[in-house]
Amino acid sequence: MDPLRRSPSPCSSSRPSSPSTPPCETLGPVGIEAVLDQLKIKAMKMGFEFNIMVVGQSGLGKSTMVNTLFKSKVWKSNPPGLGVPTPQTLQLHSVTHVIEEKGVKLKLTVTDTPGFGDQINNDKCWDPILGYINEQYERYLQEEILITRQRHIPDTRVHCCVYFVPPTGHCLRPLDIEFLQRLCRTVNVVPVIARADSLTMEEREAFRRRIQQNLRTHCIDVYPQKCFDEDINDKILNSKLRDRIPFAVVGADREHLVNGRCVLGRKTKWGIIEVENMAHCEFPLLRDLLIRSHLQDLKDITHNVHYENYRVIRLNESHLLPRGPGWVNLAPASPGQLTSPRPLKVCRGAHDDSEDEF
């Protein structure tokens, strides 16, 4: 299932290694590091899957941001201004691409949510999104409980939801708060300040602080969540990130010449905004978080926490108790139970390797 799940320590029986297990005394090098190479080869062979969802009002640059992140035309973004008319209801649609770099294959699925928050009455506009996320969990669950399971269950679960906050410069809007409160309990959410080129540096900082305060007041736990920091290194790294979240981002899919270099940017009458220049915007931080440093962590938390929460609730609903061998037919989930906010269960890594429940 997961190529980088930690393998059990050779000294203990079947339990995953924990900090309190004392290391074995060895009489010479055994060649354990080679295991890392084996993992790497396997990962390269299998490739990675990564599913992200982008949510926000139309025109906040979601499609452009996705194109910028993956440096490819994932979305054939519409030319400015001539976009399709705002859909009347929220529709979700996904696009899957395989991106290859240095022999590593990434199967990327991006789900867009056009129509979110664009209507006059946006009550419950988050329901289709929650429904979609839970549907992916359900799909995985159904695969997981089969008697004969696939070797590699296709993972369509949303690993990260990037939420685009419009750059008003004031604070989070009621719609933002309603949405974030509900979604943070179901999926990893990374809020960003969209189209940040409309804010000066001071305005950005003030806006960011206010948003952080709003998130604290409303108990919205965005990624990276504090309770999942495993050790002191994680804490340090993630605290730095948490201080800068939400990142102020600008997206661009056109290149311009600046000082002899070709850069991605937006050309205005008063200058060129360079997307990858940290002095101009924080796009590099978002890219590094999503791809270079925290991709696997996002997947782990989705699998070990969010999916497990979903699974527990579904199994409790179906009144399942270990009955012995047999394929269990779960009753279909009722939509009401899955879209109301649930308390976030902690205990990352509580996922046991033992599958003797079935």
Partner: protein, 301 residues
């Protein structure tokens, strides 16, 4: 002519301007920039918790501006809370009701006995702020403008235009103009200039009509640009100058609003919008009277 001129100068002019649009589109900053005032200095921005409970309010700020002996009493009507809730159904209603109330008050005063010092609180112009982040008009924009275009002169504004590149500005303007026509929204029309005006004036007039919606940027801060101190916004990649016609339509808007079309805006308000309201009022009153009379006749027979 000079006697009339002197009299109006002595009395001073008054003008009521309404600003409407979602919060965070730079309305207050623009008002301060337009009239070089500090109207919103002591404003406290609502926090997120307060916004959840907020309903649409109508607030008024008045300021007296004097320049070269000419006094202008400017009243700014603001609509905090508009478009900010999760459910914005009919959030334009308080705004429409406010405008009607001013008409009603004027109607009463005008029909009264002492007409010497009637206070004219009618709204002469409404600047409607359209977000630069949408793909043209949003459903709320269309609904608001359609509800109010028969009550007040609407001048659409493309807000925070410094977030758009020049081709994006052109594209959005064209799209918005096309949608305004498609939805049958009657925004304020600049009067056609007389055929005997000179070419320059005609070109200027044409340019003005094609600038709708005005792509504006506002600023409360002064920055150093090209050796001069100007109102602007300082970014790491450059400086935006509010009063540079090459950067945005701020100057066009200010010229139109204050220097060239202020009187026309008041005239249209008086001659069209107010007259419509008055006619409707009288008609419905007449209908009531006729109904009453018929009822009495019936009960008598």
């Amino acid at each position: 002519m000079t006697r009339i001129h002197r009299k109006s100068v002595k009395k001073g002019f008054d003008f009521t301007l309404m600003v409407a649009g979602e919060s965070g589109l730079g309305k207050s900053t623009l008002v301060n920039s337009l009239f070089l005032t500090d109207l919103y200095r002591d404003r406290k921005l609502l926090g997120a918790e307060e916004r959840i409970m907020q309903t649409v309010e109508i607030t008024k700020h008045a300021v007296d501006i004097e320049e070269k002996g000419v006094r202008l009493r400017l009243t700014i009507v603001d609509t905090p809370g508009f478009g900010d809730a999760v459910n914005n159904t009919e959030c334009w209603k308080p705004v429409a009701e406010y405008i009607d109330q001013q008409f009603e008050q004027y109607f009463r005063d005008e029909s009264g006995l002492n007409r010497k010092n009637i206070q004219d609180n009618r709204v002469h112009c409404c600047l409607y702020f359209i977000s630069p982040f949408g793909h043209g008009l949003r459903p709320l924009d269309v609904e608001f403008m359609k509800a109010l275009h028969q009550r007040v002169n609407i001048v659409p504004i493309l807000a925070k235009a410094d977030t758009l590149t020049p081709p994006e500005v052109d594209c959005k303007k064209r799209k918005i103009r096309e949608e305004i026509e498609r939805f049958g929204i009657k925004i304020y029309q600049f009067p056609d200039c007389d055929s005997d005006e000179d070419e320059d004036f005609k070109l200027q007039d044409q340019a003005l009509k094609e600038s709708i919606p005005f792509a504006v940027i506002g600023s409360n801060t002064v920055v150093e640009a090209r050796g001069r101190r100007v109102r602007g916004r300082l970014y790491p990649w450059g400086i935006v100058e509010v009063e540079n016609p090459g950067h945005c339509d701020f100057v066009k808007l200010r010229t139109m609003l204050v220097r060239t079309h202020m009187q026309d805006l008041k005239d249209v308000t008086r001659e069209t919008h107010y007259e419509n309201y008055r006619a409707q009022c009288i008609q419905s009153m007449t209908r009531l009277v006729v109904k009453e009379r018929n009822r009495k006749d019936r009960s008598r027979n």
